[in-house]
């Protein structure tokens, strides 16, 4: 059974995606062409384009937020307490299902 991602795009469309075990949320969304911008820095926590709002942001199956991610999120105007960077969320293991919304673009 592959992990599943349910994502609401910036246009309000809801997509249900099968993820490769071990893929990051950014890679899953990028491969589904969620938009043309995502993943510019290749998943290095350097560009902010994979900004998502996570449904169950406090869930403990999500990897803890490292300082680098916190610093990057802090720089984004659209940040809320449900914000995470998709490149830092790897699917598989305990994380089998993830429901997110794409955050609005920064620019």
């Amino acid at each position: 059974m592959s992990p599943t991602v349910v994502v609401t795009t910036q246009d309000g469309e809801v997509r249900r995606l099968d993820a490769r075990h071990g893929a990051s949320l950014m890679e899953v969304l990028r491969d589904d062409e969620i938009n043309d911008e995502i993943g510019m820095c290749g998943g290095m926590c350097a560009c902010g384009t994979c900004h998502v709002y996570v449904d169950d942001a406090g869930s403990d199956v999500l990897p803890a937020m490292a300082e680098e991610e916190e610093a990057m999120l802090d720089s984004l105007d659209a940040r809320t307490d449900r914000s995470r960077l998709g490149c830092q969320l790897r699917l598989g293991g305990d994380l089998q299902e993830l429901t997110v919304e794409m955050a609005p673009p920064e620019y």
Binding site: M40, C41, G42, M44, A71, M72, L76, D77, E106
Partner: protein, 426 residues
């Protein structure tokens, strides 16, 4: 030929992309996702599927990323999107009269639009002994694999060139416990690319972590035993023992094919503000192209970054699909990681600029603001993504602070960016 369906314009034109790196790949992907229906041929010299280069001097070299982490898409992407990817079959000739290209295999392709995304190749170290074993450049996966293999045992590495590649490599090698000496001909590292303040900060970090930096020195020869390098001889005759030598002295744009096709080349294939050559069916993007930048007062620049390759690819895709955006004007930005130091840069410095520092370099969190003729044009940030993201917004908005206003107590880039956004919304 154009067919209009609803609000979307679809094109059946044949697009041939010379070069399957970051820029070439992005152009193909953006054309398809933008609705292009005609043939797309993506022609590359390398056998690997299109991949990203930044991790080659960082995570991939250090062993914390595997080869499939480099790939920009999986192998099924290209067939699914009807992008004809030609691997290890470079274009060897372009015939603009016949609107066709010929590849190494002898196959030919016709084009309605031709885009050069040929990138650049490492500059060779022009000294005796450069062809010995243990002497490498670092540009492609093969180089990184060879280097990673050599770093399996403790090494004495000499890196020639104190640019971004040299310093990133030095950081990986030091973290791996190797002995590292960086030889830089100019009086500071990153002299072409960053402010003296940032050079100084990074040199301090490197020195603290044990990188030996030799500034204002150059290499005159490489000496070896049995065809393998053993010593680096510097100007003045001093010899530094080395069993691995990496040349990181810059890259040279691959312009030869374009020149042979009668296109103008200088420091790159010359294109205008829409990334077009004087032949309106031929464009160039990425590391191989030089263009007038609205972020440098129309000075002709050639930018070496992922952002430049990707954004130029997206612009040309949109242009081919019918966009009449008058010029390419994306804000240039760039990142580098060395040890645990995160450097992010936005904009371009003027050749003769004035600078101020926001924050305290001693804390590891600060930015250098660079002004041209009184207005902000470039921000270098260390450990400060908030400053970097604000700078990108500010530089993209055209409403930039002066040196005077940035010098006021309490000034922050974040507040300035927000103020600008609120003014627009008002």
């Amino acid at each position: 030929m154009w067919a209009e369906i609803g609000a979307k314009v679809m094109s059946n034109d044949a697009v041939v992309i010379i070069g399957a790196g970051q820029g070439g790949f992005q152009l193909a992907a953006s054309l398809r996702s933008g609705g292009h229906t005609g043939p797309i041929d993506l022609v590359g010299a390398e056998f690997h599927l299109p991949y990203q280069r930044p991790p080659l001097s960082k995570e991939y070299l250090a062993g914390s990323m595997l080869a499939d982490g480099l790939q920009l898409r999986g192998s099924t992407f290209f067939a699914e999107k009807r992008i004809r990817l030609h691997r290890a079959d470079p274009v060897v000739a372009v015939d603009r009269r016949r609107s066709s290209v010929r590849m190494e295999s002898g196959a030919t392709l016709r084009y309605d639009h031709l885009v050069f995304a040929t990138g650049a190749r490492p500059r060779n170290l022009p000294v005796p002994g450069m062809n010995q074993r243990g002497v490498l450049s670092l540009r492609d996966i093969g180089d990184a694999d060879k280097l990673a293999g050599l770093l399996g045992v403790p090494r004495r590495m000499v890196i020639v060139g104190g640019g971004f590649i040299g310093l990133e490599l030095a950081a990986v090698a030091r973290a791996g416990g190797h002995s590292v000496t960086v030889v830089e001909a100019l009086d500071r590292t990153l002299a072409r690319a960053v402010s003296p303040e940032l050079s100084s900060h990074l040199e301090t970090v490197h020195a603290e972590r044990g990188t030996q930096l030799l500034l204002g020195r150059s290499v005159s020869a490489l000496h070896g035993r049995s065809g393998r390098v053993a010593e680096v001889e510097l100007d003045g005759g001093v010899r530094v023992p080395a069993d691995v030598v990496v040349a990181g002295i810059g890259i040279v744009p691959n312009v030869e094919l374009a020149a042979e096709a009668g296109l103008t080349v200088a420091n790159g294939i010359v294109v205008d503000e829409r990334l077009l050559t004087p032949d309106d069916r031929v464009s160039a993007i990425g590391d191989c192209a030089c263009f007038p930048s609205s972020h440098a007062r129309d000075r002709i620049v050639r930018l070496e970054s992922v952002q430049n390759a990707v954004d130029q690819a997206r612009f040309v895709a949109a242009r081919i699909l019918g966009s009449n955006q008058p010029r390419y004007d994306s804000v240039p930005w760039f990142w580098s990681h060395q040890f645990d130091v995160k450097i992010q840069m936005a904009g371009l410095p003027a050749l003769d600029d004035r600078r101020m520092v926001l924050g305290d370099p001693g804390t590891g969190r600060f930015s250098v603001l660079r002004f041209d003729d009184g207005l902000l044009t470039c921000v270098e940030s260390v450990g400060n993504p908030a400053d970097h993201m604000a700078a990108r917004k500010i530089l993209g908005s055209g409403d930039t602070p002066t040196l005077e206003s940035a010098s006021q107590p309490g000034f922050t880039l974040k507040a300035f960016a927000k103020r600008g956004a609120e003014a627009c919304a008002a």
